[in-house]
């Protein structure tokens, strides 16, 4: 009976549809954090980051395209610096809160370990040699390091992210990455089962 209850709880946890979009998602005003689902709370935190980036872009005036790579590179650096200064106190776990991290770990585990997961696992394991870096929030992930391919099966199970943000594995760490700046927004260590 107790086991059945546990299984039911897990099923309910997953049936709260992690595939809902994060962008533009926010609970009704006045909703207390306690009443929000883990995914909604995660979405709010991601949107908080997006607002900071948007403000920084507005301040710099967004760069849609350029034939000058120096201009693209300097815009990226300036944008990253502005975001970092706004998030100077950001820490690991601010966005992947313990509850969110547990939920993501469950989804990752389900996708990469168990029956019929070998193809997704192979996607994660297919990588080019990379230099080892110690990850921290607000660091720019080195551009000379390749990025591991994100398994499509996993992406289909995770909450949708706003434009120019992505989930990535770096080694065994699961990372929330800003694609525009390559800034590490947050991460979950040892996420690969």
């Amino acid at each position: 009976m107790r086991n059945t209850f546990c299984v039911l709880l897990i099923v309910l946890a997953f049936s709260s549809s992690p595939r809902q979009a994060v962008a533009g998602q926010s609970g009704p005003s006045g909703t207390s954090p306690a009443k929000k689902s883990t995914i909604e709370d995660f979405g709010d935190r991601v949107n908080g980051y997006v607002r900071i980036r948007k403000d920084a872009e507005d301040f710099l005036s967004a760069l849609s395209s350029s034939k000058d790579p120096a201009e693209i590179a300097s815009h990226k650096i300036e944008l990253a610096e502005l975001i970092v200064s706004e998030r100077a106190n950001a820490h690991q776990g601010d966005i992947f809160t313990p509850k969110a991290a547990a939920k993501f770990r469950e989804i990752i585990h389900k996708t990469l370990k168990g029956p019929r997961t070998q193809d997704a696992r192979r996607t994660v394991d297919d990588k080019d040699p990379e230099k080892i870096v110690i990850l921290r929030v607000n660091m720019v992930y080195p551009e000379d390091n390749p990025l591991q391919t994100a398994p499509p099966t996993l992406l289909a199970r995770l909450p949708e992210l706003p434009m120019d943000m992505g989930y990535r594995f770096i080694g065994r760490t699961f990372v929330l990455l800003d694609n525009k700046t390559r800034l590490i927004i947050d991460f979950i260590p040892d996420a690969i089962p």
Binding site: S65, P69, A70, I72, K76, D119, D128, E143, D144, T149
Partner: protein, 293 residues
Amino acid sequence: MKTIRRFIGLALLPICLSLYGQKLTLPVHQGAVRFAAIGDMGTGEPPQYQVASRMNDIREEFPFDFVIMLGDNIYGGNSAADFQNKFELPYKLLLDAGVKFYASLGNHDAATQKTYKPFNMDGQQYYTYKKSNVQFFALDSNYMSPQEVLWLTKELQKSTADWKVCYFHHPLYSSAKFHGSSVELRQVLEPLFMKYGVQVVFSGHDHVYERIKPQNGIHYFIEGAAGELRKGDLKTTAITAAGYDQDQSFLLVEISGDELDFQAVSRLGVTIDQGSFSRIPERRPSDTRRGGR
């Protein structure tokens, strides 16, 4: 003496091969869509420049208008110097001649490349464009999100082009030892390709040239050796139609009416593969019904 003779022989071999291999077999039909495909090129090393130079030479006989880039466009960073040494300088003659480049992103590429005008990505990580009766779909296989799959489904669905050509970095089929087939990606993409009549797919990632025997009616090419090379990495398997892993290479393609002609050329100008195939007209819904109950 014997050693000297052998040395001279070996030294002359590339030149002889080069002269022999210069023969272009592509038809050059009037009004055809002509392009080159290169992947894993952005090293900035001499072989990339040599391939680029060979492409430029061949353009006199085979005037291709554009180049599709199969990812890993710029290795090792995205500074102005990187773009200059790994793209602008090697392809200068082609760029000056007005040849357009349409990039897709590889696992070594920064997302900011999409804002670099000469890559013609228009700020998009995945995009589509048409050339005459051919529609191209440049995908981001590093991050095949549900949004991208939905976008591709819609774009393929509404495409009325005779030819639908997809290209992206990771090969759905590959006989190379280092990376091999991206099976998970194949499970996501191939059903769409089959359903909406994609005829040809180009990829890179494995640093070899390989043409795969048609799989479910789709022709797959790997051209991941336009700068990088993994010599000896190709093992011939049951799906290999042709392959080459002894030198850098690039691929030339002409599409005219219902016919596609291709020729793969090595850095030294040797033809390493060539051939043609016809488009199988798409089955219309009425055709399907005809065979039904």
